[in-house]
Symmetry: C2
Subunit: 885 residues, 2 copies
């Protein structure tokens, strides 16, 4: 251990030594190394912190020799001496781990002051009041963070002196008063610790370093590391640096700059500057900082130097920097530099521009932009400056923000929207009967339901913002209002919702429109060059299809057909089909649906011409198209009660309702998610699927005749056994052949299956005998693999699981690699064993999640499919996955 | 091909040649070989059938040389000649594949007759009318099965002759009439086929053999083979055999005997005998056969010979035989022998006795008894002689038969049962409020629900017969009756249900009590010597525990705790617990449950002393303990309607009901199967599980103090992630430690998990870090792996799947090896990789299914656990699995 070097002067380190010196220390060393003006100092390594955990105080005492030697070197550089009465050297002591971590001891300033040195410091600065105030603050800071004396006790003493002198602000305390405060502080320390305040600067330094080391193992830091899986043996470094003072007269000051605009990404220096001040004053907020331009006026040479420094640092690090600086007596000092945080828009522009400037290459640029971040560019967002406090919060069911007047039923929503006003539809939950209201609205808010409730699915499908399951609001449908606590929102009141955060806000907030800037487009083209994964979109309408093409989708990976059944003009026919008692009656209703479905498919296939469109046959259980059982039950009970009370009622209506109730009861299921849906419908009612398949191939034939290159692929949902797929594939091929013969055209017949049942993964070798492609429906596969009903889990226990860290992530948002991912791996491996050219994609919501996309890349999928708005995210994520693998 | 031998005289074959000669041919050869009196004949091999499929008629023409040579050999043996006018040889032609198969051509008798030979045959038999009748029958049979002429057309001709002569029965037709019929038949054949009826016996034989060969590929046989996975290239053999006539005078006759009593297994010859008759006459049912004893009176020597033959055949085949014989002119001929079908009781007794007699060994005896068959011995069954037609049929939810008076509510059931009358409880569906009624009843019948509805679970748990989901009955609760079509059953009417078949019968049927005979016990002991798998029982009550011990269970593999929560005296406390708004209130209610649970566990652990008892912590979602939402909704709607109509109502009651409705609504789930249940309850409400664990260890401490060797094992249900198990295992160990310290005892703390979620299987290596045992809950695992809600699947689409043969078996009855089984394999392999001594069992219903048990043996499970009544089945099945592997 003796041989190891634990103390590094800033001149001795470099940026790459981050693990050894911590982030802050490594950057200070790097800046020193490349000749930038950094107040001299040194770093005690993270290894010393770990050695301390074993060797304790004895180790640290031994280390102090090295520390003092380093300090002498600093003394020489600055021409001051630590602990000497005349022109004493004061230092700051800061912790700095490789990763930043809350709960760690942070900073002690002005270390080295005592009753003697404070007077020398007073002489050197020419301001005794300032020196005494530094002394007071030093004792308070040291007492708090090193000696663990309750901060409030110091504040009490300070307060009592202000009261005694009837003054309001700290700055009004004069030298005598400050001297008394210092005395009282020292008494407090003695009382609390049983020892006098350490006046020896070396002892102060020893204690401060020890406090940093110890804070590595305080409970808060430990828990944080546990949660974030940060190893315990990383340790933190300690930076000891000569103090500089931005408040030493008119030619001093302090500030923070970004090397580019962090909001827009424009190449311009951006930041704040406070003359005659220290960093602490900025934090205290007593004075308002000036824009950085003020520095150019006050000290043009310093400003010029700062511009040069910004340029140097940005070029050196190859990225936009966030820099802290201080000017002391007309001299610029750099106290910190780090990669600057930036908005999504800025991230895109900076990455693009740095390539244009030759600073980084395209691959590096792609790694600079977080896909999740750019997702924000693709929805309307709330302008942060106009955001108001949320009055309630629900589940963020469909991203984007929207404003409008509150409306509580679908018909009214349509009426008011027809008047040209924007509307937010608010319902306990929505049903197919509300579709026209959703269409007419800017966004939807429900008090019940989960991420897969009707409102959520429909809104996501339409790309409308939606907040569901907002249990805090109580809706009074009759009174056309909702309330949260004392707040009541009535029909016509303006409200705003943010479907990305789940927030509900009063009034109208300003919205920022999504934008695909030129730079963003260029970046995505670079991504396309690099990625191996294809990117398709989940789209059910021609509008969505067109949108996804604009966003760069290479096909439709999931075109759901159930929303076509839910259109308000079709629900009666669909209900007729369901209520049919015989196959004949059912076929009659289906005959009415056929031309409508054909129209749907024709429009979508035309919008996507030249690209594949994977159409999934009907998936949801039939009872989803019928009225709500509870409502029927209440209606019937009411009518019967009226009848019993001797009132006349519409007997025919009652009989009709009772009939409907019987059918609903017959269809209602205990666990609809695991019920009679997907291909199970196609097996039991083949005529439904036949109608859909006929519509698909008729539409294709129409298009081909018009010279439009339509490319349908038929996807059978919820297959669990190869035999299901075999039967339905035979049916598809038979019907397709019939249409081809009727129309005299040839259409390639591509049939595959959605893999969303564990059994299908486990027997993928058999399923692949029948399937030309697999598309993983990871929403349902996650439900079955975990045994989680998504709606129930999110409402009842998933938050506990995330809170208790049983699960790291919501598995419906980020693909669970160990469980669901293992099934995907098995399915890909077995499927390709049977059919080496099997095309495999994913069309669950995970298809738009960057981490999940990376996994899809790893296991060799051919494409991902996601909502139109996430196509750019997926293109970027796919490129990054290729770069990182 | 020339080199192959296609025709085997009976003297040339043996029993082992079944594949080549078919079952019938091989047994005829075997009997011939060991010197028994079989009419001579020969077999054309199955290979010839396959060769015919390729070579067609040309091949068969070539083969006829061999056939005729074999026929000459037969002629020599019997001293008759085929096709000769004087004393002609007549033969039968029968198909005989290795496995019997419907749709195959079966039999042609009397082949060889024509206008000439019939006269010779008349002379030989001395009965011209009989000879002509044989001729008529031969043409009809040949025309039907070989020439494919509609059977009805022959019947028409016959009928017209009877009408013309005003006679009623065929036997009244005289020689002349028969001769005319023969003429008309031949005309019909010529009209239908365009060719005269083949009079050349060799041509007749050629055509008959060809018809058998061709029938192998008829559509019905092909589909049957496809469904039963019988290879298409097996082929069928053809048996050609000299006719013998049991109707050739007083010293002739025909009969069927079993070598032992097929009902009881007693060692006695058992069968029927019809003097002066042929087999056909027995089938026609014109005369009633005599018991076999009659033969002893009529022809004592023949009878003695038959006894000797029976003994020889039984000893030779080592099993009870089913023998067809004919006596012609005082001579005994054997026409067929095969292994005799027998009742469950007989199967057990015969297997046991054959060992005692030294005919077979113990291992062979175990292979002779089908486990599924003996299951029938373990429940009360309907005496077949008293079975009446079912008026309705539901799902067979809990096996066994029961009779009693129909009662339509639980309170009445209790009252009437208290009067000493047997009761069948009939409800639309049951709830926890009905438990006392179920307890009081002999059996339960519901019109709704599936195999896992409340009634089904509770009844199975109690071992009471139960039929659920009997949709054909319409229950009128107010009228205390149910109806099926025109039949109305009122309270007090006697009915019977059979929970093994799902049948509902009017009136009282006689029941047969289950019996564990001495022979059965001995057989099971032999099974215990051989099996490797342990056998435990699923039992929730001390009674079930005792019963399962009697049946030989080696522990309890699944003790569910929810039924304890459902006991009528506890439901209010459980509801109090659920309605609690704070953890404190919940704990108060749990404190009341603690002593009750402790009592439950103490009784069960004591009953099973010395054996392990795996106790599963609470599993079902809490809303299962609350009243039904719909009923509440109707009540509230009614009360409100009354209020609106100006009536006075109990406002407090309304408020209470509304409160309850709110709670039910808050708890109700979209998919309860995938909802907030199992360990998810334990994570969110740890106090519930803590109470249960405390009760388990307190009960154990009490028992140990009393010197009772109690061995609890705690099982955490529905684990999907190792972290869930870790948290709960830590809790179990902590609470157990607390109890041990309070009580000053040491109790081994065994904690494991139920594996019933695919994710648990896929991550079994991680789960095994925390689990000392796995117990596969294959009911839920089947639901999640298939994505089938059992209740919904069985009601809505599973029958379609079984009917269309998409699934071979109901996966809830027979473990699906490819899907669910694959997950089991993965879990065993990964689990034991982490923990080589991991104990692995199965406690789903599959644990009592023989085929599933065989699979459990194959993949190396340690034990199976099943309902008490199936323990003997499992012991036997486990032994057979060991023998067969």
């Amino acid at each position: 251990m003796e041989a190891r070097k634990f103390v590094f002067l800033f001149e001795e380190g470099r940026a790459q030594d981050r693990e050894l010196l911590g982030g802050k220390g490594a950057n200070l060393a790097e800046m020193t190394r490349i000749g930038l003006p950094v107040p001299p100092g040194f770093t005690i390594t993270t290894e010393a912190c770990i050695a301390y955990a074993e060797g304790g105080d004895e180790f640290l005492r031994g280390l102090m020799g090295d520390v003092m030697r380093a300090l002498h070197s600093v003394e020489e550089r600055v021409g001051k001496a630590f602990g000497r009465a005349e022109n004493p050297l004061l230092v700051s002591v800061r912790s700095g781990a490789a990763v930043s971590m809350p709960g760690m001891m942070d900073t002690i300033l002005n270390l080295g002051l005592n009753d003697e040195t404070v007077e020398g410091f007073a002489v050197a600065t020419g301001d005794r009041r300032f020196a005494l105030d530094c002394y007071r603050r030093f004792i308070q800071m040291f007492g708090d963070v090193v000696l663990k004396i309750d901060h409030a006790k110091f504040e009490e003493i300070l307060e009592s002196h202000k009261v005694r002198r009837s003054i309001e602000h700290d700055v009004e305390l004069d030298e005598e008063a400050l001297w008394q405060v210092v005395g009282d502080y020292k008494e407090l320390v003695e009382r609390e610790t049983g020892a006098v305040f350490p006046s020896d600067p070396s002892e102060q330094l020893f204690l401060a370093i020890r406090a940093v080391f110890r804070s590595w193992d305080n409970p808060r830091a430990k828990i944080y590391r546990q949660i974030h899986k940060i190893p315990d043996d990383l340790g933190t470094a300690v930076n000891v640096q000569a103090m500089v003072f931005g408040n030493m007269g008119a030619d001093s000051g302090t500030g923070v700059v970004f090397t580019r605009n962090p909001s827009t990404g424009e190449r311009e220096i951006y930041g704040e500057y406070l003359p005659k001040a220290q960093g602490e004053d900025v934090v205290a907020g007593i004075r308002t900082p000036q824009p950085i331009g003020k520095l150019a006026e006050d000290m043009p040479e310093v400003y010029e130097e700062l511009l040069r420094v910004c340029h140097t640092l940005e070029e050196h690090y190859g990225d936009m920097q966030d820099i802290e600086f201080t000017v002391e007596g007309g001299r610029l000092y750099l106290l910190q530099t780090r990669t600057g945080k930036r908005s999504a828009a800025a991230a895109v522009k900076i990455a693009h521009d740095l390539v244009a400037e030759g600073v980084i290459d395209r691959r590096e640029a792609l790694l600079r932009v977080e896909p999740e971040q750019v997702a924000r560019l693709l929805h309307r967002t709330v302008d942060p400056s106009s955001r108001t406090d949320a009055i309630a919060r629900g589940l963020p069911a469909s991203p984007g923000a929207a404003c409008g007047v509150a409306v509580f039923d679908a018909d009214r929503a349509e009426e008011i929207a027809a008047d040209g006003r924007k509307v937010i539809l608010i319902r306990p939950e929505t049903t197919p009967d509300d579709i026209h209201g959703i269409v007419a609205s800017e966004g939807v808010l429900t008090s019940r339901g989960g991420m897969t409730c009707h409102a959520a699915i429909v809104a996501r499908g339409m790309g409308k913002p939606c907040v569901v399951g907002c249990r805090e609001i109580t809706i009074d449908l009759e009174g056309r209002s909702f309330s949260v606590g004392d707040t009541v929102v009535r029909e016509g009141d303006l409200i705003s919702i943010d479907g990305s955060s789940g927030e509900v806000m009063l009034g109208e907030v300003r919205l920022i429109d999504p934008q695909l800037t030129q730079e963003f487009k260029v970046l995505l083209e670079w991504a396309d060059e690099i990625r191996r994964l294809g990117v398709r979109a989940n789209a059910d309408t021609p509008e969505d299809a067109r949108k996804s093409r604009q966003f760069g989708a290479e096909g439709i990976g999931l075109c759901r057909t159930e929303h076509m059944f839910m259109a308000p003009d079709r629900v009666p026919v669909v209900q007729e089909m369901i209520m049919a008692e015989t196959e004949e009656e059912r076929r009659a209703a289906l005959d009415k649906l056929l031309p409508l479905q054909r129209g749907d498919f024709e429009a979508i296939l035309e919008a996507m011409q030249g690209l594949p469109v994977t159409i999934r046959l009907l998936d949801p259980p039939l009872h989803e198209f019928l009225p709500n059982l509870e409502e029927l039950l209440v209606d019937i009970t009411r009518m019967k009660a009226a009848q019993e009370a001797g009132q006349t009622i519409d007997r025919e209506l009652l009989a009709e309702k009772e009939d409907l109730l019987r059918k609903v009861r017959a269809l209602v299921e205990f666990n609809p998610m695991l019920g009679h849906r997907g291909c199970r419908l196609g097996i039991v009612f083949p005529e439904i699927y036949e109608m859909q398949v006929r519509a698909i191939y008729q539409a294709t034939a129409d298009l081909l005749e018009r010279g439009v290159d339509a490319r349908p692929e038929v996807m059978i949902p919820l297959v669990g056994h190869a035999a299901e797929l075999k039967i339905l594939k035979d049916m598809v091929e038979r019907v397709a052949r019939e249409v081809m013969e009727e129309r005299g055209v040839e259409i390639p017949c591509v049939v595959g299956t959605m893999i969303e049942i564990p059994r299908a993964c486990l027997t993928a070798d058999e399923v692949a005998e029948e399937a030309e492609f697999f598309s993983f429906g990871t929403n349902d596969l996650t439900q079955t693999t975990f045994g989680f009903s998504r709606d129930d889990a999110e409402a009842k226990f998933l938050h506990h699981y995330l809170h208790q860290k049983i699960l790291e992530e919501n598995p419906f948002a980020v693909l669970d690699r160990d469980g669901v991912g293992e099934l995907l791996r098995i399915a890909v491996e077995k499927g390709r064993r049977t059919r080496p050219d099997l095309k495999v994609g994913i069309c669950g919501e995970h298809g738009g999640d960057p981490s999940s996309i990376a996994f899809c890349h790893q296991i060799g999928l051919d494409y991902v499919s996601c909502s139109p708005y996430r196509v750019p995210v997926a293109r970027l994520a796919a490129a990054r996955a290729a770069l990182e693998s």
